[in-house]
């Protein structure tokens, strides 16, 4: 019995999804490529783009309980296409993956769902807006008012979202360059959601309020061949201003940022303006992961220390990564979310 080569078929999607992420650095292979002159159309672009390889609807929220306890919440729907086509039934190459998490100062709950497109088990519809996988939903009459729900074996949540500001386009009108050699994605956000609802945790239900940030991104090859992962920050300052910044780790690193004023006006910053330096690495799930960062955007006088609310916010999903709520001290105070990928090796 050659147990070494025994891999359960059920593990296949794990590999495929990993290939999908790794494939971000590969050729576009028949998929559509983001173009700088594309003008995003709403509500149509809230829906899926099956001719692109990968796409996500990515919501993170910083919440507070009635007793002042901080919480983090994540709801993500990934679409990964095996081929650049769509269709009905089992034959469609569109695969869907959902990640849901709740982070408390002492615990981190994660769960995952996988689904095939084409049979109704998962999908996204632009208007009226609905994104779903199994019983998880983000849906509402429009993109400004939505219900968000997910459940796992040990936690669940059901909250309402209402937008208090406009959509925000990153980069050049939503065309976000990811490397010096020109890889790019289409990228916009809704960072102005107010949230209210209930988290169901092992100790019972918790009423929470707070703010949420929704990212929408699709592309076919946003990473360059030498890029191994990214560190992505979405920061909400006490002043009402917001900052999105990321570092794509490679030779050399590539950075980009968007300053979002409290009224929604944006300023895009090119490579080099935004800087993030790890201050403290922690052993998380067997990997050395930076859990405290020094983040700078000199043009806006931002020089803050970003610290994880819970260092153990490891997403032990098919494709593992770190994703959790953070707090800021320094030139600005505030809260936000940090995502770090490519630390799984």
């Amino acid at each position: 019995m050659n147990a070494k080569v025994l891999v359960l078929l059920a593990l296949l999607p794990v590999q495929a999804m990993a290939q999908g992420f790794a494939g971000l650095g590969n050729d576009a292979g028949g998929f559509a490529i983001p173009q700088p002159d594309t003008v995003l159309q709403f509500p149509a672009d809230h829906g899926a783009h099956p001719d692109y390889r990968i796409e996500w609807w990515y919501l993170t929220a910083n919440l507070t309980g009635a007793d002042g306890t901080p919480y983090g919440l994540q709801w993500t729907l990934f679409r990964s296409a095996l081929a650049a086509s769509d269709g009905q039934g089992w034959d469609t190459p569109q695969l869907w993956m959902g990640h849901a998490a709740v982070t408390t100062p002492t615990a981190h709950f994660v769960t995952e769902r996988l689904a095939r497109g084409g049979i109704g088990q998962a999908g996204v519809q632009a208007a009226p807006f609905s994104a779903w996988i199994d019983d998880w939903v983000m849906e509402g009459p429009d993109f400004n008012t939505m219900r968000l729900a997910a459940s796992g074996p040990d936690f669940a949540y059901d909250v309402g979202l209402s937008a208090t500001g406009p959509l925000v386009l990153h980069g050049q009108q939503g065309y976000s360059v990811k490397s010096a050699s020109g890889q790019a994605s289409h990228y916009y956000s809704q960072p102005f959601f107010d949230v209210a609802g209930t988290l169901t945790l092992p100790d019972g239900p918790v009423a929470v309020t707070g703010t949420a940030w929704l990212d929408r991104e699709w592309s076919s090859q946003p990473l360059a061949a030498d890029q191994t992962g990214w560190d992505w920050f979405s920061l909400s300052f006490d002043s009402g201003d917001k900052l999105m910044g990321f570092v794509l780790r490679g030779q050399p690193d590539y950075t980009a940022a968007t300053w979002i004023a409290a009224d929604g006006r944006t300023t895009a910053y090119p490579d080099g303006a935004f800087a993030a330096t790890p201050l403290l690495r922690e052993d998380v799930a067997g990997r050395k992961v930076p859990v405290q960062w020094q983040v700078r955007l000199a043009d806006r006088g931002v020089d803050v220390t970003v610290t994880a609310l819970n260092r153990a916010a490891w997403m032990a999903t098919s494709v593992p990564y770190w994703e959790g709520p953070v707090t800021m001290t320094g030139s600005h105070g505030g809260v936000g979310y940090l995502e770090m990928t490519g630390y799984d090796g």
């Binding site: 050659n2 080569v5 025994l6 891999v7 359960l8 078929l9 059920a10 593990l11 296949l12 999607p13 590999q15 495929a16 290939q19 095996l82 081929a83 039934g89 089992w90 034959d91 190459p93 695969l95 769960t111 996988l114 689904a115 095939r116 049979i119 109704g120 088990q121 779903w132 199994d134 019983d135 459940s151 796992g152 074996p153 040990d154 936690f155 669940a156 169901t200």
Partner: protein
């Protein structure tokens, strides 16, 4: 000192190579049959387990349609969207292969265990032409699919795994799902099943699988055979060891007189035996592998035909199996040698060094008492015993008691023969035969057990065959059976059949729980077919008339025994309707209960169950024409089965079962024959002093040899005569006690006198063959050796 003692001990075997051979061969043959049978059983079980793992049976809860039909794909999606973590499975026959379609994204880990060589590619599995995983031999049997075949040795035999989308297309079952596997871990919030998808039911994992339960009786037969063969082998080993120890008494005395401590000596003898047992065990396991490999294809064919169970025809070498083979060889040797070592330990230092007369089986009142006690225990258990264990204890007591009864009964019979003998030669013949019984009794007991086992198992298998064939005649009374894919086809079938003047008997059934047990409820049309052909085990007067008036139900034997529903008991058929039991019928091989109501009651209670299967009664000569007419109406040839074909198939399956049984019969008889040969060879040397005077009185060596041959045949005949009642007792115990306890139905017992006669003939032949060589040696003994007896002072 150890070395000296060991070399002294081993020198015995150098001087008596035949004894060494007997010991090794007896143990090896016994181990071979036992481990061969175990290998077959293990292979079959592994196949069932692989099938269960592939299909998620046994370990996961399942959701199926209440009516036993397909689940709509929309219901699956609705359940997922209501929070149920379930995974769809569709399965069906593609050619002769079972094709299983799964969804790898939702399947719990462990479903569809498939080896992947690292280049596993979900894209290839899910899209394009797709991939089919199966064993290499299964892939060869698959009809062309266009998909890429991937060899995967861990998939269950005769099973192919592919994506559910491709499976639905290949099986022509778009949008249909057979069952949903329920993941063990479910989210906090789920809507109840009956709200989301009424008509679906969840069943808890059973911790076993249907195929394993269904085939248990077959494996039980094989195991019984293996155990009996090993017991026969142990008799041989016991004989050989006892003889060797008897002959080594002088040596042991000398060694002890020279100062070797007794415990040291006994320990070394035990080590010596353990080494010999290990060697014999290794040979036996190797032989067992050969036996199993030779029998497995037939066994696999039998299981597939009889139960639809797919068993690999190829044997895998499992460590647990060969280790257990070695263990049983060592354990058997320990049992066989225990007595000899014990008596050696108690031997006084100055005891006579002369070998005693070779008395291995202690005769006398003790043996008779033990035998009667065991037989009484067996009878008591037959009358008052409860449960499967009691059944097996009863079997064991019957066999051992019967074997122990052999020497006293033989002595009685021989004494009677002697009383009737006229003339000095005849009288000497009987007396000499009686004198030899102690020396031969162990070998004869082995023959007795082998024959009894053969009579018992053959009777059981043949009774099963007769019952089953009769049962098929009663159940398959219609000449042609047709299934319709949908209601319009069903209407077309009825129209065609009525044009052809055939009688249409719809087969209506639903799966329901009855008295808390899984059961099928059938609706039967009132027709002479049933009245003429069905036989009840028990019935009330005018059972069919009462059934036709809707005044009761018929039950199968399984439900009657398991639920304790006797004649007249009220059976809850549907909510608000309970009817009394009118009759109980045999339903062999069916693992679940069955209830039959009349057609009107069925249609009133289960209006949703459409009649899609029909039995058509038509003159046998018109079956072909009817088939053609139905085919023209669009009924697929595979949807029609004619009765003659089913019966021919069933009979061919039984023929294969007989191949296996016959092979095992011959092997056990051969082992017993070998035991006789070895005993006779051993006795031959010792008997010379007894034969020499007879020779000197004028009987020629030829005559003496002929008498020896005759003696072996007479003893075998007497043993066979005793084996017959013992075998019939064994058969009765298997059919009426063990079968009922294990499977819930009792098989009627039939007797097959011609078979027994042939078996008796075979036993005589085995004994004669075994005696042939010793007799030939006797007839060629040089007269000088015979004369030498008178020269030596003994």
């Amino acid at each position: 000192m150890t070395r000296t003692i060991l070399s002294a001990l081993l020198s015995h075997w150098w001087r008596n190579p035949l004894q060494l051979f007997t010991l090794l061969a007896g143990l090896a043959l016994g181990t071979a049959l036992w481990s061969g049978v175990q290998a077959i059983n293990a292979e079959a079980r592994a196949s069932y387990d692989a099938a269960a793992a592939t299909l998620g049976e046994g370990s996961y809860a399942q959701i199926t349609a209440q009516d036993g039909g397909a689940i709509a794909q929309a219901s699956y999606v609705a359940l997922r969207r209501a929070g149920w973590l379930v995974s769809p499975v569709v399965q069906g026959k593609l050619g002769a292969v079972r094709l299983v379609g799964i969804d790898p994204l939702t399947a719990p880990r462990g479903i569809g265990a498939v080896p992947v060589d690292g280049s596993a590619d979900l894209a290839a599995f899910l899209s394009g032409a797709g991939q089919i995983f199966a064993r290499a031999d299964t892939l060869e049997r698959l009809p062309p699919t266009g998909a890429q075949g991937v060899a995967a040795p861990d998939v269950a035999p005769n099973t192919a795994i592919t994506d559910i989308g491709l499976a639905q297309r290949l099986l022509n079952r778009a949008g249909q799902i057979d069952r949903l596997i329920v993941a063990p871990e479910q989210p906090l919030t789920r809507r109840p099943l009956d709200q989301v998808a009424p008509g679906l039911v969840q069943t808890v994992p059973q911790g076993g699988n249907d195929v394993a339960r269904l085939t248990d009786s077959f494996h039980l037969n094989l195991t019984a055979f293996g155990l009996l063969s090993f017991a026969v082998g142990l008799f041989i080993v016991h004989g050989a060891i006892s003889l060797a120890f008897e002959q080594r008494r002088p040596m042991v005395r000398t060694l002890r007189a020279l100062g070797a401590p007794l415990q040291h000596l006994i320990a070394l003898m035990a080590v010596e035996l353990a080494a010999l047992a290990l060697i014999a065990g290794l040979i036996g396991v190797a032989l067992g592998y050969v036996v199993a490999a030779a029998l497995l294809p037939d066994v696999a064919a039998t299981l597939r035909g009889l139960y639809g169970a797919d068993v690999s025809g190829q044997l895998a070498l499992r460590s647990a199996w060969w280790l257990s083979g070695l263990a049983i060889a060592m354990g058997g040797t320990a049992v066989a040698a225990g007595g000899a070592l014990w008596s050696l330990a108690r031997m006084p230092l100055l005891a006579s060094a002369q070998p005693r007369a070779w008395v291995m089986a202690r005769q006398g009142p003790g043996l008779v008492v033990a035998s009667l006690g065991l037989l009484a225990l067996s009878g008591g258990l037959a009358l008052w015993g409860q449960g499967l264990l009691a059944g097996f204890v009863m079997l064991g007591a019957l066999l051992i008691g019967g074997a122990l009864a052999l020497p006293p009964v033989l002595a009685l019979a021989l004494r009677a023969g002697q009383a009737g003998a006229r003339g000095p030669v005849a009288q000497w013949f009987w007396a000499d035969t009686r004198q030899q019984v102690p020396g031969l009794s162990l070998a004869l007991m082995a023959l007795l057990l082998a024959m009894a086992a053969n009579v018992g198992v053959s009777t059981m298998v043949s009774s099963f065959r007769l019952t089953f064939v009769g049962f098929l005649d009663q159940r398959l009374a219609s000449e042609l059976y047709v299934s319709a894919a949908d209601v319009p086809t069903a209407a077309a079938i009825i129209a065609v059949a009525e044009r052809q003047a055939a009688v249409v008997l719809p087969i209506l059934s639903v799966d329901r729980q009855v008295a808390g047990l899984p059961a099928e409820i059938y609706g039967a049309r009132d027709h002479a077919t049933y009245r003429d052909s069905w036989r009840f085990l028990r019935e009330v007067p005018q059972a069919w008339d009462k059934l036709a008036r809707g005044e009761g139900v018929l039950l199968n034997e399984q439900l009657y025994r398991r639920a304790g529903l006797d004649l007249g008991a009220m059976v809850p058929v549907a909510p608000g309707l309970a009817l009394p039991v009118l009759g109980i019928y045999g339903d062999y091989g069916n693992p679940v209960g069955q209830v039959i109501v009349t057609e009107d009651v069925f249609r009133a209670q289960f209006p949703e169950a459409a009649a899609l299967r029909f039995g058509l009664r038509v003159a046998p000569g018109q079956v072909g024409a009817l088939r053609e007419a139905l085919q023209q109406e669009g009924v697929a040839p595979t949807a029609m089965i004619d009765q003659a074909a089913i019966k021919a198939l069933s009979l061919s399956v039984f023929e294969r079962t007989f191949t296996v049984t016959t092979a095992l019969n011959i092997l056990t008889l051969a082992v017993a024959g070998f035991a006789i040969l070895m005993s006779l060879l051993t006795l031959a040397a010792m008997r010379l002093p007894q034969l020499a005077p007879v020779w000197a009185l004028g009987l020629t060596r030829r005559r003496l040899a002929a008498l020896d041959l005759l003696r072996a045949v007479v003893l075998a005949a007497l043993t066979a005569a005793l084996a017959l009642p013992l075998g019939l007792g064994l058969a009765w115990a298997l059919l009426a006690v063990v079968n009922v306890e294990a499977f819930g139905w009792r098989l009627p017992m039939y007797t097959f006198w011609l078979d027994y006669l042939r078996l008796g003939g075979l036993a005589l032949l085995a004994a004669a063959l075994a005696a042939l060589w010793p007799a030939w040696r006797l007839s060629h003994t040089p007269p000088a050796r015979l004369l030498g007896v008178f020269r030596h002072e003994r």
